[in-house]
């Protein structure tokens, strides 16, 4: 149970987040804040997969893409409402993850990563090729504004509160799952799959659950993004997009809930701060990533557990030969 002091901190930050649009009378920074929220959902959902079960998904953008296109297509052609599409897009993304998972979850390490990468590209290229469904490279413009009780949610403020709520719900539910039997099973799988099975953990099933839960939120994020920008195209779901989500998770610190939040925030804000650097902007951004991990290798918010992992001395004690052989090659 959270201590009183912790509760107070939660309460105050909740107030601050709720008041934020009133402090900041600048729609640009508000938009940046919305993008941060979006990326928090994406990075946190990826962290659920990579950080908690140790599967190394590097094609998260694929699920994000599915969510966005599901929402865009159903909203523009069949006039589904935003509120229905939020969960629906998540479900569609999760359905795809079941497909992928059934086929590939038995693969280990890099091989699993490779299939997620391949999947992400297959999705993007299919979007580009299947013009009758997705308008191909033309993208889908004119995604309508969400409505609430007949009232159009048009302003950035509205979107801010929507994404704030989504992020909150996502983190809250994640926290609850993580600290339950399910989350423990996930972590056990990350630590040692054989041992987890010997404890009766149906590792395949739990990895699948994990993938479903993680990708569901990527789908939800996709739906939010589609409605927020009102125009989407395949350009927004490249491998690079997937890598930058991954970078957020790692810079923030994986395997704990706050890490990706901080990672997403800092990697979204940094490029904005460097805006005036013209051509040097990305040079500095790259350098900044390097500096951040030099300063805090376990991630900006690396948990105490992971930092112990990091300070672990050169020899892993008593590690059996299998592990030396197997783990060497993993992403």
């Amino acid at each position: 149970m959270a201590s009183f002091k912790q509760k107070l901190v939660y309460f105050l930050s909740a107030i601050a987040l709720l008041m934020f649009p009133w402090f900041i009378q600048n729609d640009y920074w508000l938009r940046v804040a919305i993008m941060i929220g979006l990326y928090i959902i994406l990075a946190s959902s990826l962290n659920l997969i990579n950080g908690y079960t140790g599967q190394f998904n590097i094609g998260h953008a694929g699920f994000y893409c599915i969510g966005a296109y599901t929402a865009a297509i159903l909203a523009t052609r069949y006039h589904f409402s935003f509120w229905l599409l939020l969960p629906l897009s998540g479900i569609v993304a999760a359905l795809f993850s079941i497909l992928i998972g059934l086929a590939t979850l038995r693969l280990k390490g890099i091989y699993f990563s490779m299939t997620t990468l391949g999947f992400s590209e297959i999705i993007r290229l299919t979007v580009l090729n299947w013009a009758s469904l997705t308008r191909g490279p033309m993208g889908i413009p004119g995604i309508p504004l969400p409505e609430l009780f007949g009232f159009h949610l048009a302003s950035n403020r509205h979107f801010y509160y929507i994404v704030l709520a989504l992020t909150g719900i996502m983190l809250f539910l994640s926290k609850r799952v993580i600290s339950s039997r399910i989350g423990r099973a996930w972590i056990a799988i990350r630590e040692d799959e054989d041992a987890a099975r010997a404890m009766g953990v149906e590792t395949f099933r739990y990895k699948l659950y994990n993938l479903i839960f993680g990708t569901f939120w990527a789908g939800v994020a996709g739906c939010f993004y589609a409605f927020f920008t009102s125009f989407i195209s395949a350009d927004s779901f490249t491998l690079d997009e997937g890598f930058s989500i991954l970078a957020m998770v790692l810079v923030g610190g994986q395997g704990n809930l706050i890490g990706p939040v901080i990672g997403a925030a800092s990697l979204t804000i940094l490029p904005e701060i460097f805006r005036n650097m013209a051509q040097l902007r990305l040079v500095i951004f790259g350098a900044a990533i390097l500096i951040m991990i030099y300063l805090r290798p376990q991630g900006l918010a690396g948990s105490s557990i992971l930092s112990q992992k990091y300070h672990y001395p050169k020899i892993q004690r008593h590690s059996p030969p299998k592990h030396q052989g197997q783990q060497e090659v993993s992403p």
Partner: protein, 260 residues
């Protein structure tokens, strides 16, 4: 007395190597059954077969009379067989208590729904895991380490934790693969007492060990494996006096005072 575990013609080969060859094993309920044999004889492979980590090339395994031959490790664990590993396989970056809590996986049923809304089932499950987990830790003397990271424990203590974790699954049959490896004689003596106590509480145990003091002190029956085949089975006394076993395994005992 009835057999809790039986194998018929159990075999496993890797490429051309017959690691386990036509082994017929029968373990009585309530016994401590020892498995000994030279290095590379196939003992660990046998355990891996019994727990579903490997699928047999031939033969059958029966647990409580039911065939478990091709079941997955997790199914077998649910049926009541728990094990420890020769190469310790703890959940390194989890706390000691959390390691044991995983053991309750099969006895709890929190679903996503329960976790989201903290239903009564969730609370019940968490209570079970925490309370019983702590009980088990207390029993093996690890309670004071409950919040430590498993990987920070000394080697011998890690072995204890592995046993504790296996016990948490509430097994009928416990397989221990070299539990005394890396322990000094004093610690081994402590371990012997502990295993005996578990057995007296009704747990059937199969144990692989090279420490003859432990084996001879504990086991009701001993199976000797050599080159994947069962070469002898009998009581400790019979085993110690069997010339084939002495030649293949025990040695002359000249430099080996730990053998009783």
């Amino acid at each position: 007395m009835t057999a809790i575990l039986q194998t018929a013609n159990l075999s496993k080969s890797f490429g051309g190597l017959h690691a386990v060859e036509a082994v017929n094993l029968e373990v009585e309920r309530g016994h401590i059954h020892g498995i000994i044999g030279p290095n590379g004889a196939g003992k660990t492979t046998l355990f891996n077969l019994l727990t579903g980590t490997y699928t047999p090339s031939r033969g059958e395994i029966y647990f409580n009379g039911l065939s478990i031959t091709r079941l997955s490790p997790e199914r077998i664990a649910r049926l009541g067989i728990a094990r420890t590993f020769q190469n310790i396989k703890l959940f390194k970056y989890m706390s000691v208590l959390d390691n044991v809590k995983i053991g309750f996986h099969t006895q709890t049923e929190t679903s996503f729904w329960d976790a989201f809304f903290h239903t009564s089932r969730f609370h019940r499950d968490e209570r079970i895991a925490a309370q019983k987990g702590f009980e088990i830790l207390t029993r093996v003397g690890l309670a004071k380490h409950a919040d430590d990271l498993a990987s920070n424990l000394p080697y011998g203590t890690q072995r204890k934790l592995e046993i504790a974790r296996a016990l948490a699954t509430q097994p009928q049959l416990l397989l221990l693969d070299e539990p005394a490896a890396g322990m000094n004689p004093a610690e081994t003596a402590e371990l012997i007492d502990f295993i005996r106590k578990l057995n007296q509480e009704g747990l059937t145990i199969i144990i692989i060990e090279h420490d003859m003091k432990l084996i001879m002190n504990l086991c009701h029956r001993i199976t000797v494996i050599h080159h994947g085949e069962k070469i002898f089975e009998g009581t400790p006394v019979e085993v110690q006096n069997h010339p084939g076993v002495i030649e293949a395994y025990l040695g002359k005992g000249r430099l080996n005072p730990s053998a009783v």
